[in-house]
């Protein structure tokens, strides 16, 4: 069942098309990645889905509700992490969360306190709960902003660049937490990011957008394949021989062989790594090679992404 669905979603600003005919669906409980460079239209897409702005044409449903007709109900059902943390710096962590819990319709004082404790403990901020946000580090602010997005237990989360501007350690922490969130309370998450690492580690499916247009969509593995990047079997040998590469080229399923390190390292391109790898190893052993190591290397999403963006630029 699709929790979020867009149909030719389009948004123009004074002649500039920020989002151009996007159509995609996100299943319940899925973490869906919206991947693209800065200015690709990711933030505009999230603003359209959170009813902060309206589409110029096309439409979308969020939790079965129409973004044009049911704006208030949609706002209640989503938690949003905006581009900047959007926190009140003169208020404490608890005061910030209390305000947003009530703004999203929570009214029971005990339930609010309980929920605030849960999210602050989850994000390891409980000890700093009475400190003003102005005293927090950037990473802590981002964690608190995520806590704010979650405080009213929304079934849908829209996260705009959750690791942007953070150092690698803080990025990893946030990424791990978002990953854990996906497993909790059956949340549907759309994650906008220009960091391939985030998409690769967190998302089941991603859509790459550039200049408002969807370039490609599918699982991370699908994307690698669709964009022509071929998986490889990387082999390290104890001794080199030109005969080994020649033998491998004749193996069924092998699309190409590259030798490096004076012939000690062989890189075998194949679309079917699982089927081809045993035949490759058997062929090498049959040819008298001593195989030290063999591993399957999937092409990085980064490689695929960069080639796609470059292609789009041309």
């Amino acid at each position: 069942m699709l929790t979020i669905e867009t149909r030719a979603l389009t948004r123009r600003f004074n002649g500039f098309t920020a989002v151009d005919g996007l159509s995609f669906g996100v299943e319940e409980g899925e973490i869906f990645g919206l991947l693209g460079p800065n200015g690709a239209g990711k933030t505009t897409t999230l603003r359209l889905l959170s009813c902060l702005i309206s589409p110029t044409s096309g439409g979308a449903t969020v939790g079965g509700l129409d973004v044009l007709k049911d704006q208030s109900a949609i706002r209640k059902s989503i938690g949003i992490l905006t581009e900047s943390p959007s926190l009140y710096e003169r208020l404490t962590a608890v005061e910030n969360l209390e305000f947003f819990a009530r703004a999203y319709g929570m009214s029971d004082r005990g339930a609010i306190s309980q929920r605030i404790r849960e999210v602050l403990e989850f994000f390891q901020l409980w000890e700093r709960r009475q400190d003003k946000v102005a005293t927090f580090s950037k990473g802590m602010k981002q964690k608190l902003a995520l806590a704010r997005a979650l405080v009213h237990k929304p079934p849908i989360l829209l996260l705009d660049e959750p690791t942007s501007g953070l150092d690698p350690e803080a990025s990893k922490l946030i990424r791990d937490m978002v990953g854990r969130l996906g497993n909790l309370e059956s949340r549907t998450i759309i994650l906008s990011t220009h960091r391939l690492e985030d998409a690769e580690k967190l998302c089941r499916r991603v859509m790459i957008i550039d200049r408002g247009v969807s370039r490609v969509m599918g699982t991370v593995d699908d994307l690698r394949r669709k964009m022509g990047a071929v998986p490889r079997i990387e082999i390290t040998l104890a001794s080199a021989s030109p005969a080994y590469a020649g033998a491998l080229k004749r193996v069924e399923g092998v699309e190409g062989v590259e030798a490096a390190g004076g012939g000690l390292r062989l890189s075998v391109a194949t679309k079917d790594t699982d089927g081809t790898a045993p035949r490759v190893i058997a062929t090498l052993i049959g040819a008298g090679a001593a195989v030290r190591e063999a591993r399957i290397a999937l092409p990085s999403l980064e490689e695929a992404y960069l080639s796609l963006i470059k292609e789009a630029g041309q």
Binding site: L52, S72, R75, L87, Y88, R90, L91, E95, A103
Partner: protein, 272 residues
């Protein structure tokens, strides 16, 4: 529209603002000047320079409304002058207090949130437009009107104490006109001015722009003051009742216009 949701915005903003001296200071400084310094100048200058040279100009006396002329009949020149200024001419200045005290608060309402990049999370909440607008108006209105009431109390004390010996122990303030002005006209005028400033705040890019535009709102009040000094207007019961009715209507119109002009999309666009 639910009042408790508007009060939620109010409470959040007030909590934030009272921790910011840049915002709190103007609320206190303007009333202090109006309520303590102005009357003190009025009473101290004649006592320092001597009272012999102080005569109310005949042209001013000619323009006074008949009932005021009756009130000062029999008073000496210094008494007349102090009475006219302290009990009559200074009254409309109290219309300015809530406007000036609230100008920072009201300008900051939405524009400040844009500057501090907190507006997007606020607009993403299910709080309705009317609730958000009312909450922002109230957070400027309530403190500034309370300060005005306190300023009036302080002004009355200062005037009565300073005038005690000069008027043989007579209590000058409060009188009926001042009570109508402070508790009737001033809240209505303040609400209209604050409403306009909050609307401006939704439609500009930042706090400074909002404050520059909102400063113009004092001009109509200054016209009232000059009109009164020039004898063109008299703040009598009829005039004050008329002002209450007119500004009550203006308040409703301003809120209605505010609702019509409130577009989350435009606020976000100005923020981005």
């Amino acid at each position: 529209m639910r009042l408790e949701r508007a009060m939620l915005v109010y409470n959040k903003d007030w909590l934030e603002m009272k921790r910011n001296w840049q915002i709190v200071a103007p609320i206190l400084i303007v009333p202090l000047i109006m309520t303590v310094i102005l009357p003190l100048i009025l009473f101290l200058v004649p006592s320092i320079l001597g009272t012999s040279g102080f005569n109310v100009p005949q042209s001013l006396l000619d323009r006074l409304p008949p009932n005021l002329s009756q009130e000062i009949a029999g008073m000496g020149p210094l008494q007349s002058m102090i009475y006219i200024f302290a009990v009559y001419f200074f009254a409309p200045f109290f219309l300015i207090i809530p406007l000036m005290a609230s100008s920072v608060l009201a300008s900051d309402s939405f524009a400040g949130e844009k500057d501090r990049k907190t507006i997007e999370a606020l607009l993403a909440t299910p709080i309705e437009d009317s609730e958000m607008l009312l909450g922002k108006i109230l957070v400027s209105f309530i403190p500034s009107i309370l300060v005005t009431f306190l300023a009036f109390a302080a002004y009355a004390v200062v005037v009565n104490v300073a005038a005690f010996s000069l008027f043989d122990g007579r209590i000058l303030l409060p009188n009926l006109l001042w009570l109508i002005l402070i508790f009737g006209v001033t809240p209505c005028v303040a609400l209209a001015g604050i409403g306009v400033t909050v609307i401006v705040s939704t439609r500009v890019k930042g706090f400074r722009e909002a404050q520059q535009i909102s400063a113009l709102l004092v001009l109509p009040i200054l016209l009232l003051i000059f009109g009164e000094i020039a004898g063109a207007l008299f703040f009598g019961p009829t005039m004050l009742a008329l002002l209450i009715v007119v500004f009550a209507v203006v308040d409703v119109v301003v809120f209605w216009v505010g609702m019509k002009l409130f577009r989350r999309e435009e606020i976000i666009a100005k923020h981005s």
